[in-house]
């Protein structure tokens, strides 16, 4: 990444490219130093299933939000988090989560005039 950024910075000119070249050069040198310092087995195996599921939910939310609207998509995600991970009292927390989404939506919309994407509510 540092090499790509350094190569791209060549086209920025002397002034605009000065800091991008310095930063990408430094990052590249430090990345090499880090690779040389790394001892075998220093990276532990990472469990990916649950974090992967949550990160996938982020991606789906990002895709859905402009189409479904802020309120609907955020409510769906809140339901997903609370029902999917909530255990025995999941419904109680699901209701609380939905109430929180609506409260935040109303507070930001009415007090600070934030114009959230309406999506299907339009």
């Amino acid at each position: 990444m540092a090499a790509a950024a350094w190569w791209q910075a060549q086209s920025f000119g002397p002034g605009s490219g000065l800091l991008p070249r310095l930063a990408s050069g430094t990052a590249g040198a430090l990345a090499l130093a880090g690779l040389l310092q790394r001892s075998p087995g220093s990276i532990e195996p990472i469990p990916l299933a649950r974090p992967g599921a949550v990160l996938l939910a982020f991606v789906l939310y990002g895709l859905a939000m402009p189409r479904l609207g802020f309120l609907f998509s955020t409510t769906l995600l809140a339901l997903g988090f609370t029902l999917g991970f909530g255990g025995r009292k999941a419904w109680r927390w699901a209701l609380a989560g939905v109430a929180f989404v609506v409260l935040v939506y109303i507070a930001f919309g009415t007090i600070f005039y934030v114009n959230f994407p309406a999506g299907i509510a339009r």
Partner: protein, 495 residues
């Protein structure tokens, strides 16, 4: 003059302005993505309806309370209300999760109150003499100061300086993204119009700090907050606890007060510098980030002190040090007050009424903090999925609200994934964020210095102040390498 100030201040409209400013400021500060600058900007029309002094009392008390309010959500739900509260997450949230939310809020509140009164005293005594000194620093000195601040992040990342410095370098690289205002060159924008103004700070901050916590809360069943100890919601410090954090509080206040005087040093930078200084001077640096009081009071005191000292160049020179002080200057101009040296002669009564009003506002903030923050402490007792939902909703709302742009929500989600990956791979998220914040400041001043010196880098050596900062930067790197080697040699050998 004293009796005139007292007479002007102790009136019903002035007192109501101070109290309303404090209450509204605390609320606005706790909302991610809003912040004091936006809050005052939204309420700027009040200037047309209130007398100038009352309107300004409302704004400065709002500014002060919002700076504290930003730390409330940082400690309670790991979501900074404003960028300058991000440093509070490291130890504040950790102490909260360790079952001591009341103590975390108490340390934060105590540091704010102490630094606020010290800052007000500084406003009265040092406003005019110090403003002249700050003007003596030129672009070369500012650039060198930025480099020094950046290199100190090597010690922010636990035992290894390389990941910390690499994270900082990547943060600086990211700060160069967007349109270069001097040559109008588009850098790393990939044709995206939303990136022409650079990377917005709010989505990056909530993405890097708060969203990884959502992933961790939902994906790690063992990540359960320690049960709150009896009385842990009580926002109070014992005299012993109070004395134990005396030194980092005074140090944080001093750092904040002097950095706040320097126009161009963003309000979000000084708390990180203070955190790092507190860590490097501590007898237990390895415990920073695990929820220790020094890690809370140092950045919080700096945050509060910056707010006060940034008013000095704003009032005496007309140079705003932070976006919020720029909005307050705008309010002064609307009210017919011209900031600058003449303000202290032509409108001395209003200026000193503002300074004295801040003292009353601080007392109100203290009472309000004692009463209300214990409610926030209960947030930590929520089950993991509910807490994760609250954090997520605040994150996406704050990211969207800052510019009303869906692209910012995507940015926050992307940086959330990056922040989680950096956490897993043991890179330093604070170093990355500090690089991003400092990058634009370093670039601006570096290029100004080079233009003035006709392209000669010698300007950084001929200026004694710049040279001192650069020497300190080299020492900082050498120290972090030495410390890393020492810690590695002390670690037990693998079997």
């Amino acid at each position: 003059m004293f009796s005139d100030v007292v007479h002007a201040l102790f009136t019903v409209p002035a007192m109501l302005s101070l109290l309303a400013g404090t209450v509204v400021g605390m609320f606005i500060g706790a909302l991610p993505g809003i912040g004091p600058a936006v809050g005052i900007g939204l309420l700027l029309p009040l200037t047309y309806f209130l007398p100038p002094a009352d309107a300004l009392l409302f704004y400065v008390s709002l500014y002060q309370a919002a700076e504290y309010g930003g730390s409330i959500t940082a400690i309670a739900v790991s979501t900074p209300g404003a960028p300058n509260s991000a440093a509070m997450i490291l130890d504040g949230y950790a102490m909260n999760r360790a079952g001591k939310p009341g103590k975390a809020f108490a340390y934060s509140l105590w540091a704010t109150i102490f630094a606020s009164y010290a800052g007000i005293l500084g406003l009265f005594l040092l406003a005019q003499p110090i403003a002249g000194w700050a003007l003596a620093l030129g672009p070369a000195e500012f650039a060198a100061l930025g480099v020094f601040a950046l290199t100190t992040v090597g010690t922010l990342s636990t035992a290894a300086p390389v990941p910390g410095l690499l994270s900082a370098a990547l943060g600086v690289l990211l700060s160069t993204l967007g349109t270069d205002l001097i040559t109008n060159t588009h850098r790393y924008t990939f044709g995206q119009s939303s990136l022409l103004d650079g990377v917005p700070l709010v989505p990056v901050l909530v993405g890097m700090f708060a969203l990884p916590e959502v992933v961790r809360l939902l994906s790690d069943p063992s990540r359960v907050a320690a049960p709150n100890a009896p009385g842990s919601g009580r926002v109070w410090l014992t005299p012993r606890e109070f004395l134990a954090v005396w030194v980092p509080t005074v140090m944080g206040t001093t750092i904040g007060f002097f950095l706040g005087l320097l126009p161009g040093i963003s309000g979000s930078v000084p708390p990180w510098i203070s955190y790092n200084v507190a860590k490097s001077t501590s007898r237990r640096p390895e415990r920073f980030g695990t929820g220790i009081p020094e890690g809370i009071v140092a950045p919080e005191a700096t945050n509060a002190a910056v707010m006060h000292s940034t008013l000095i160049p704003a009032f005496t020179l007309g140079i705003p040090g932070t976006p919020t002080s720029a909005v307050i200057l705008g309010a002064m101009l609307i009210a017919g007050l011209q900031p600058g040296p003449l303000l202290f002669t032509q409108h001395a009564l209003i200026v000193y009424e503002l300074f004295a009003g801040l003292a009353i506002s601080t007392a109100a903030l203290w009472v309000l903090g004692l009463c209300s923050t214990s409610l926030w402490a209960r947030a930590s007792a929520l089950p993991r999925p509910m807490l994760a939902t609250c954090i997520f909703v605040l994150c996406v709302t704050g990211s969207f609200a800052s510019r009303s742009n869906v692209f910012d929500v995507w940015l926050a989600l992307g940086f959330g994934a990056l922040g989680y990956a950096m956490h897993v791979l043991r890179f330093s998220v604070p170093s990355f964020v500090l690089g991003l914040i400092l990058g634009s400041m370093i670039e601006t001043h570096l290029r100004q210095a080079l233009i003035i010196s006709s392209g000669s880098f010698g300007v950084f050596v001929t200026s004694p102040i710049a040279l001192a900062f650069l020497a300190a930067a080299c020492l900082s790197i050498a120290y972090s390498i030495w410390q890393g080697a020492r810690l590695r040699s002390l670690a037990p050998a693998p079997p």
